[in-house]
């Protein structure tokens, strides 16, 4: 478009969560797209919630197959969209994860590593023995460079990965812009 606006169309699905899930547990996932100040969503939904998946066998994949589809417009690459996911087992947080939407058009398969916060106080450590799990009030802070001052907050990264097929289609409007991309 003439005024420097470009459109980005993101579509794909959140395929599965690969965690050490025990049989009988129920998992679900929350996702949201986080983007910068210039970005506007012109189609699709910004955030959503998956169904609840029950695990039948220990350690099997938690297949959600949750479709993601969003169309955004912006004038500036700064604040390129990020996907932020939160994984829950019943109502307990099991991990946050984030990734940038790939900048190159095409089909991408992304593994996101998940992290969960640890308690920083002794009292918190004791309560965590009883299943207490700290959560972030604003998980969006993971997608920003802010919040790096909170030294007391630790994240334990587990080897839990999630695979997401990200289908990334460039609109016709974007083609004039493609020379910048690659």
């Amino acid at each position: 478009m003439g005024d420097g606006t470009f459109l980005v169309s993101i579509s794909g699905q959140l395929d599965y969560i690969e965690v050490l899930a025990e049989s009988g547990s129920n998992w679900h996932c929350k996702y949201e797209f986080v983007s910068g100040p210039d970005w506007k969503i012109i189609g699709g939904v910004e955030s959503g919630l998956s169904q609840i998946c029950t695990v039948n066998m220990n350690g099997e994949k938690i297949v959600l197959n949750l479709p993601l589809e969003v169309m955004m417009k912006s004038t500036n690459l700064y604040g390129w969209p990020q996907v932020l996911v939160s994984i829950y087992n019943e109502m307990t947080l099991e991990g946050y994860g984030r990734c940038h939407v790939p900048l190159s058009p095409g089909v991408h398969s992304i593994d996101i590593s998940l992290c969960k916060p640890l308690t920083s106080t002794l009292l918190g450590k004791i309560t965590s023995l009883f299943g207490y799990q700290p959560e972030l009030i604003q998980p969006k802070m993971l997608a920003t460079t802010a919040g790096n001052n909170c030294k007391s907050f630790e994240i334990r990264c587990l080897k839990f990965t999630r695979k997401e097929k990200d289908f990334f289609i460039c609109q016709v409007y974007l083609i004039y812009f493609l020379y910048i991309l690659i």
Binding site: L77, Q82, R98, H100, L103, S113, T145, R156, C157, I180
Partner: protein, 175 residues
């Protein structure tokens, strides 16, 4: 003015032999360069891993720069610290990476090092932690004063970065 976008993440560290690591990063740019949006420095969260010698940060980077010359192409220099169980942070590595001049996706490995002291200092460091640190972090970037240093190898910090260049061809810069 030509513009550069650096979008990606400070992804992980490995082979540091310790968990509970965090990383401070700083962007170093030349005089011709101007930061349009984004941050020039930052710090990741403290991360640990139960399974392997890898700390995953997945810390987002999004920097928008404008330049009127190629001199002083952006570099990111990092300091890795280990947070011990009493809450002290010890230096675990210095490193620098040059942002690729070629647009596209890149996975950059930053091999880090740290200064070592003499035998007595190393003895103290083994039991008490701590260790020598650089007074002036610009030595991480300097090419001249390195010969005075005695260092040891530490782990590897991985960046996943996409570089996008804009208006460079208008100034006759080929890439």
């Amino acid at each position: 003015m030509a513009e550069v976008h650096i979008i990606g993440e400070l992804s992980q560290s490995k082979d540091f032999g310790q968990q509970h690591l965090f990383c401070k990063w700083y962007l170093q740019i030349g005089n011709n360069w101007r930061l349009l949006s984004g941050k020039k420095e930052g710090q990741t969260q403290v991360s640990s891993n139960e399974f392997e010698d890898i700390c995953k940060w997945s810390y987002p980077l999004d920097i928008h720069l404008a330049t009127s010359g190629l001199q002083g192409w952006p570099k990111i220099y990092i300091q890795v610290f280990h947070l011990d169980w009493v809450g002290r942070s010890h230096l675990y590595g210095y490193g620098v990476v040059t942002i690729p001049t070629h647009p596209g996706q890149h996975e950059l490995d930053c091999y880090t090092w740290r200064p070592v002291g003499n035998l007595r200092e190393r003895f103290v460091q083994y039991f008490m932690g701590g260790g020598p640190q650089l007074k002036d972090p610009h030595l991480i970037l300097s090419t001249t004063d390195r010969y005075k240093l005695n260092t040891e190898a530490m782990g590897v910090v991985t960046f996943k970065i996409t570089v996008v260049l804009r208006h460079f061809s208008d100034f006759g810069v080929e890439y």
